[in-house]
Symmetry: C2
DNA sequence: CAAGAGTCTGGGAGCGCTACCAGTTTCGGC
DNA sequence: GCCGAAACTGGTAGCGCTCCCAGACTCTTG
């Protein structure tokens, strides 16, 4: 590998070496029709001789397409992305994008600066498409995104409005599954600790809990509102115990919260699942390792990413995909 | 917000509205000198009236800079990125990039396709800089990267060669700290379970273990080689117990492995830390929640990301930063 | 008051590629 | 053997921006 200072090889050079016009060369690069076999071969040879690689920027300028899509996580708190959830989504997204020519740009829109940038992308088409995760319903970005003329798919349905294109996990169904399971094992005084009610996942999981209890004809009033975070789960559990010392089961809207809830439960002298059965949501790695191992609802996170990417691709191709709800399933372990 | 179909506002339009030449308008956009206050104001007014946002693509083509850097995770296995480690690195990187105009593109170079793409980026300058994580020493990409004329900073020092620019955690020092701690609490038959020896972190942690025992004058021959994965940790522990039933401590090169090692230890009837003290590495969330909570070595992962980004920025600015080793520290919990 | 040093200013030439268009060939069919 | 359609072909006009350059203008100075 000669380490010569090789400046960019251009299409013109390829064309010259192949003895054709730039237009013809361009056609074979984009394998468009109307070019004879002979010239096509000549160009291809020149390409590999010269090690030509098209300049993405120039192409983008000429075609008015950017060649990149952005995966945006909008949040007031950059720590959120630290949740392995997003990493998995990214893996899923990447796996389908890898089959295309599109690049994946990551936008952790945490600061105002990030928000502004995302807004500009949406307004001035600096990307061919956008995947927007974890929008809170009142985020102005949601409206901007929905009215933008760049294709946007939402990851998770924000509370407050239903975007045209989104893929979400069946949070409501999963919560219902979890709660029904609690009913099935004979519990009758079933409480819940909710997530943030300004997030779609939070409200949906709460609704699923209500659904199940309504069907079973049980009381659904043992509820404390929390915010998905570990600490909030512990606090909520204390509250619950104070308000309803007789509860015999609790559906917790996230594993993080469930874990500290279990600790509070144990500290209060209760056994799990003997006195109180616990079911969480998300199936994080940790859930397998708690004492006892935590029953939980698992959602196909990588699929979520994959489907978002696929939907975006469809949108870019001019199709009109329909929203997608991915199934969730109960993973029963020893805590229930 | 009128939802008119607004095509891109161009610099020419801004210039015309402001009654100046395109050149002048360009100067004020990039706030370059040589433009009178009057015109500057006029242009600025036009910009905000029209809602002008420069077209990044056109600018990139004209300046021969891309306006984006890539964060590449090279691995044969896309699951690797699922490790929260990378998500944290990404957060760190993002936090410093957010202060600049640069975009962050994510390259999970798992498939051959991804590898090829990364290689092209490196060869044909499709990015202003590259951050390369988790290179195995024999990966040909490492050499390509090192000889590329696009700025590259390595995250973690691959075994086999030392890149010009990298930032790494002090794996060796951390392992030494952990092992010294084991010595300090009176253990004398200290074993280790290593990580993959084709990764820098694997060899460095093993060396740190040897360092500490050499200084203490203790036997460093109780070692089993594993690969960082949870399963391999359990298997290694069984092996260790078979070979050296008398061991009274084990330094495990990752928390994942330590966790299953602890399980094996308990299954064999030993108490932790009574019979055998255990120290892990990484300080994953899980470490706080094991039974007993796991002593471990913690590394500043977000800082790693931040420093990689800063180093890359320096490189792009034409400076020659020196490699950086970030400190690690021992987190003592109940397992030792 | 003229010369020289700055400071503005707009024209124009690209950056590397695509895409339209008009012109040239080829070829089957009558 | 002539005609129209269809397959080729290369020239050229951009995509939106930066940056060099030559010319015009404003101040200092001696």
């Amino acid at each position: 590998m000669t380490d010569q200072l090789r400046r960019q090889v251009t299409l013109d050079e390829v064309a010259e070496r192949a003895g054709v016009s730039r237009s013809a060369a361009s056609r074979v690069i984009n394998n468009a029709p109307h070019v004879s076999k002979a010239k096509r071969d000549a160009v291809q040879r020149a390409v590999s001789d010269l090690g030509y690689v098209p300049n993405a920027t120039a192409r983008a300028l000429a075609t008015q397409q950017v060649g990149a899509v952005v995966l945006a996580i909008s949040s007031d708190n950059s720590q959120v992305f630290t949740d392995p959830f997003f990493a998995e989504v990214a893996v899923g997204v990447n796996s389908v994008l890898e089959e295309t020519e599109l690049e994946l740009v990551l936008q952790l829109a945490t600061s105002t600066r990030g928000q502004t940038r995302l807004e500009q992308v949406l307004r001035t088409r600096q990307a061919d498409g956008v995947m927007l995760m974890s929008m809170h319903g009142d985020d102005p970005l949601a409206q901007i995104a929905e009215n933008s003329d760049v294709p946007v798919v939402f990851g998770g349905c924000p509370v407050g409005f239903e975007p045209r294109y989104y893929v979400d996990a069946d949070n409501r169904g999963g919560a219902r599954l979890a709660t029904e399971h609690l009913v099935a094992i004979g519990r009758t005084r079933i409480a819940t600790i909710t997530g943030r009610m300004d997030e779609g996942a939070g409200t949906a999981r709460y609704k699923g809990y209500q659904d199940a209890l309504a069907v079973a004809g049980l009381d659904a009033s043992r509820v404390v509102y929390a915010d998905f975070s570990e600490e909030s789960g512990g606090r909520a559990m204390e509250q619950l115990l104070a308000d309803h010392p007789d509860l015999d089961a609790v559906f917790v809207a996230s594993d993080q919260m469930a874990i500290s809830a279990m600790r509070v439960l144990k500290d209060s002298g209760r056994t799990i699942p003997g006195d109180v059965a616990v079911v969480g949501f998300n199936d994080v790695v940790l859930a397998r390792h708690t004492e006892p191992p935590l029953s939980t609802v698992s959602q196909p996170i990588q699929s979520l990413g994959r489907e978002m990417a696929r939907m975006l691709l469809a949108l870019i191709a001019g199709e009109s995909p329909t929203p997608l709800i991915l199934p969730t399933r109960l993973v029963r372990r020893a805590s229930s």
